[in-house]
């Protein structure tokens, strides 16, 4: 029931800011597609580079869409508007509030990815996006929603959210299997980057889009991230003395 309340809150926010959300979800990925895919026309392993790029951009869109939906919003609610107090004092179980935030954030990520998929339909690529692809997008969205929650509980000022984007989201966007394969990275660094959630999400969505199996390893990595950050969010909301 509390989960539905949070999803209702997210839905009212989505309806109100529909155009802003849609346009901001489109701009960066669209620029990357135009510049790297259509502007600089290259090939990768004999295939148009766009075929490599699109799955990565889709995974990246779920990450940025989910993260920004939660991090900024929750930081402002907690530190500036103090609207989180309304939730804290209410009888809504806080684990349900956290679950609602994770689902709501992930759905926003899915929406951002859906826009990219619609835009790229105009380019005939024969890439495959099926139910598994959407499951990975959803899972990736939940991971970044939980990361956003944890960071927003740690934030000391509401201006910290944009900083987290610069420190975490931006490097991941460029390094994690979006624009180029992590296989090309030097050893050691490659292993670290490969274990990041976006690398796995991009890799799995790309594998499916090429008609290959996504494997199990990526799911395991994403589920570990989800479990760890969900546990931290729940721990913070129940135990943090000065929320």
């Amino acid at each position: 029931m509390g989960i539905i309340t949070v999803l209702w809150e997210k839905w009212t926010e989505f309806k109100r800011d529909f155009y802003k959300i849609t346009v901001s979800a489109m701009i960066s990925p669209l620029m990357y597609l135009i510049i790297f895919g259509l502007g600089i026309q290259t090939t990768s392993h004999g295939e148009p580079y766009l075929h490599f790029l699109i799955p990565g951009i889709v995974a990246m869109a779920t990450m940025t869409g989910s993260f920004s939906a939660i991090a900024q919003n929750m930081s402002v609610q907690r530190l500036y508007e103090k609207a989180l107090d309304q939730v804290m004092v209410s009888p809504t179980p806080l684990w349900q509030f956290i679950t609602g935030q994770i689902l709501g954030g992930s759905l926003r990520g899915m929406y951002a990815a859906g826009i990219i998929l619609l835009l790229t339909r105009a380019i005939r690529t024969d890439l495959i996006f099926n139910g598994w692809s959407f499951l990975i997008m959803f899972l990736n969205g939940t991971v970044f929603s939980t990361i956003a929650l944890v960071l927003s509980f740690l934030a000391k000022s509401y201006t910290d959210a944009p900083r987290y984007t610069s420190y975490i989201i931006m490097p991941m966007s460029f390094l994690c299997n979006t624009f180029f394969s992590t296989d090309q990275m030097p050893g050691g660094f490659r292993q670290v980057v490969s274990c990041l959630p976006l690398s796995q999400a991009s890799g799995m969505i790309r594998a499916i889009s090429n008609g290959e199996s996504p494997g199990v390893f990526g799911f395991v990595i994403l589920l570990i991230y989800l479990a760890v950050f969900t546990a931290l969010s729940v721990l913070f909301i129940y135990r943090k003395k000065n929320l």
């Binding site: 209702w8 103090k82 609207a83 107090d85 004092v89 209410s90 129940y238």
Partner: protein, 279 residues
Amino acid sequence: MIEIRGITKKFGDFTAVDDLNLTVNTGEFFGLLGPNGAGKTTTISMISTVLLPTAGQILIDGNILDRKAAKEKRKLSVITQEYSMRQDMTMDEVMEYQGRLYFLPRRVIKERSDRLLEFTGLIDFRKRTVRHLSGGMKRKLMICRALMTEPEILLLDEPTAGMDALSRRQMWNLLRSVNSGSMTIILTTHYIEEAEALCDRVALLNRGRLQKLDSPKTLIDELGMFAVDEMRDGKLETRYFHEREKAIAFLSESHEQASLRATTLEDVFIEVAGAKINK
């Protein structure tokens, strides 16, 4: 009944509330009174579970209150000092969100929203976002939101801060009317007249510690109902008397500029804590 058992709240080295023990009875209008930084808001924040105590416990009707205590939290509603609301929501959305957080059916949410917004004169602005409301309207909306859940315990943190005299009186009348229905109210304020007018009992806090606890009348009676202010060497000194005749006799013998008046809670606090409440 609310039992506060030895709660302490520390922020680093600073102790905001220090070993506070209180019992607030069901249906009581209870005031937490003290200067800025006395620990009033911190105490309210701990009762509302936004802050967790460093030590001690809070019990509601014998059950420990913490962030998991849904049954106890269902009885609580809070009006915070700050406008703690989503700024981008409309009044209707703020009310619906509150109702949903308390698991109220949509029909009940609608009925109560209509009634409360009508009662507070906000009904014509219900589609307006919080960001575009005046300070007074936001304050009224917070009251509507708190009353929406028909709480058994209402926590009010400086509810009339920044209000003009007329609005403050209207708020007092509203609070008296809701308290008459057996709702327990805990009010923090640094307006002495507010505590005197509304509270059955007050706790005088200073630097996080409880200084005195009793009804305003008893506290005043203890000190002496009559106060004589006297200017001595450019400094105001006050003497207190239990009998009017003695106060008048003192006044007539005084060679300094002096005046007789009724003792207030502020006098009690100054005597107890050595600090002026409105500082």
